[in-house]
């Protein structure tokens, strides 16, 4: 009898459930429109990326995921004929404002691409590159420290510690991708943008990167574009679905993959798109 009493659910239990704690907006997009010449690639997108969370962008090819990702660290500035309007902020600061130093901004908002793209340099120099150009290390030992911790954080150090002077291009695809992530975090960014970072990797290397993303979330804010629904479901806390340049639905990942509110979202994630 006493047992039954003890097992009675405390009504307050519900209050401490898995509901996320108060969230802080790290980056925000307000009424963002992007044109490539006459192509209207993004149409009035509003969204918030929360701090210390992984936000996934999903949607059919050409829906504008990469375009939005590139807007978030002004990579679109480099594309001829690309016009961006609307507001984008990092910690409330307008990243398109005139007084923003774009090189500095890209140190704060790093990017990892679909194909691992290590520089044709040594493993060490790949990671040291950012800290060097941003003047983050005063001494050689400072730089060593940054390089080693960055490699450590990506789980690569054990695998490469005895060949830091070898070319980064000599690593396996999965290792190269982790090297690129190490390179991105070496400059202590606030946000890391990843555009299909696992699409060239095998399942084991993919699992490694996913595990890494989950660990990185503690110190960084991550936005990931992926075509793999299961990956979005596994790594992200929130998911945004895009279709033909519009943000159709954005919600908790769990909600999106169990009971999406929008018919297009449902159609896409269940493989009915057509």
């Amino acid at each position: 009898m006493a047992n039954t009493q003890l097992q009675d659910a405390d009504p307050r239990d519900g209050a401490v459930s898995s509901r996320p704690a108060a969230r802080r907006t790290k980056m925000a997009a307000r009424d963002v429109n992007v044109f490539y010449g006459d192509t209207h690639a993004l149409k009035g997108v509003d969204l918030d990326v929360y701090e210390h969370e992984v936000t996934a962008f999903i949607g059919p090819s050409g829906c504008g995921k990469s375009t939005l990702l590139r807007c978030l660290n002004r990579m679109n500035d480099m594309i001829e004929g690309c016009r961006v309007s609307g507001e984008m902020t990092l910690d409330g600061r307008d990243i398109y404002s005139r007084d923003i130093d774009v090189v500095q901004l890209r140190a704060e908002i790093g990017m990892v691409f679909q194909k691992p793209n290590p520089f044709p340099k040594s493993i060490y120099d790949n990671v040291a590159y950012g800290p060097r150009i941003h003047g983050l290390a005063r001494t050689k030992s400072d730089l060593d420290e940054i390089v080693l911790t960055s490699l450590e954080k990506t789980g690569l150090l054990d695998e490469v510690h005895d060949r830091l002077d070898q070319p980064g291009t000599g690593l396996s695809g999965g290792q190269q991708q982790r090297l690129c992530i190490a390179r991105a975090i070496a400059v202590s960014p606030k946000v890391i943008l990843m555009d299909e970072p696992c699409s060239a990797l095998d399942p084991i290397a993919t699992a490694r990167i996913e595990e890494l993303i989950d660990e990185l979330r503690e110190n960084y804010t991550i936005v990931i574009v992926t075509h793999n629904m299961q990956q979005a479901a596994r790594v992200s806390q929130r998911t945004a679905f895009f279709h033909l340049g519009s943000l159709i639905e954005m919600d908790e990942t769990e909600q999106v993959f169990t009971s999406p509110k929008n018919e297009h979202t449902q159609g896409y994630i269940t493989g009915r798109y057509g």
């Binding site: 629904m229 994630i269 269940t270 493989g271 009915r272 798109y273 057509g274």
Partner: protein, 251 residues
């Protein structure tokens, strides 16, 4: 009807991978077949009581295995779909829903078998009057199964809700039969054996209604996506003030 409440909870359009659609259809068919069997089990069990028909009772008891077998098949099929198709959203709910419904149907068939076992006992002794309540109660429960299966096949949430509300009637019948049987037993202790069997039979039927209600809730989940949020209807907990309640036969 809103776009989210259409049909089986999924969109009208088909999967790009056709075999997936076929498999989901096959799953629905398995559930319907299992439902038909479970419904029939309850029907023959009640026949066995009402007509004092031992053959019907034995047939019911022996057929229980078929339902168990089907449940097993549904389980395996769902595990396979989960592994191979990695279903999402409406599809995922549909597969989880099938698993839950199959387990409710298996229980329903079990209750049918329980009733049949009691019928074999009851048929050996002199009939008593309160038996008249059994076919009425049984009919209600059977209709609930039938309608909830229809609502599953049609993805009709309204119909499922209707079934859900009807459970109250079965509960009330059980309660009044319970009272009546108590009176009988007090009047003449020689009625106790027959009344006890009847009481268990009624309880088993009442449990069938509960499982039909579970299925209605599952249908709501798989079509609408959210949890069921209608105010909990009055249950016999609230209305019955007399003495002990009993559990249905556990076997």
């Amino acid at each position: 009807m809103s776009e989210r409440e259409r049909g089986d909870g999924t969109m009208a359009t088909e999967h790009i991978v056709k075999a997936y659609d076929d498999e989901l259809k096959q799953l629905s068919n398995m559930i319907s077949r299992m439902g038909g069997l479970a419904e029939n089990q309850v029907a023959t069990a009640i026949e066995a009581v009402v007509r004092r028909d031992n053959d019907a009772a034995i047939e019911t008891i022996e057929s229980d295995e078929k339902v168990d077998q089907l449940e097993h098949e549904v389980d395996q099929f769902c595990v396979r779909l989960l592994a191979l198709r990695q279903p999402m959203a409406g599809d995922l709910r549909r597969i989880i829903g099938a698993l839950k419904i199959a387990s409710d149907l298996e229980r329903i068939a079990d209750y049918g078998a329980n009733v049949a076992k009691r019928a074999l006992q009851l048929n050996q002794i002199k009939p008593i009057k309160p038996v008249y309540a059994i076919p009425r109660m049984g009919k209600l429960a059977q209709e609930m199964i039938k309608d909830v299966l229809d609502s599953y096949a049609e993805g009709d949430v309204e119909k499922a809700l209707d079934v859900w509300h009807r459970d109250e009637e079965v509960d009330e019948m059980y309660t009044s039969l319970f009272r009546e049987l108590l009176t009988y037993m007090m009047e003449d202790p020689r009625n106790i054996t027959a009344c006890t069997h009847l009481l268990f039979i009624a309880k088993n039927i009442e449990r069938v209604g509960d499982h039909a209600t579970n299925i209605a809730e599952t249908i709501h989940f798989l079509v609408v996506g959210g949890p069921f949020s209608h105010g909990r209807r009055r249950t016999h907990d609230g209305t019955v003030t007399i003495g002990l309640d009993i559990d249905a036969d556990s076997s």
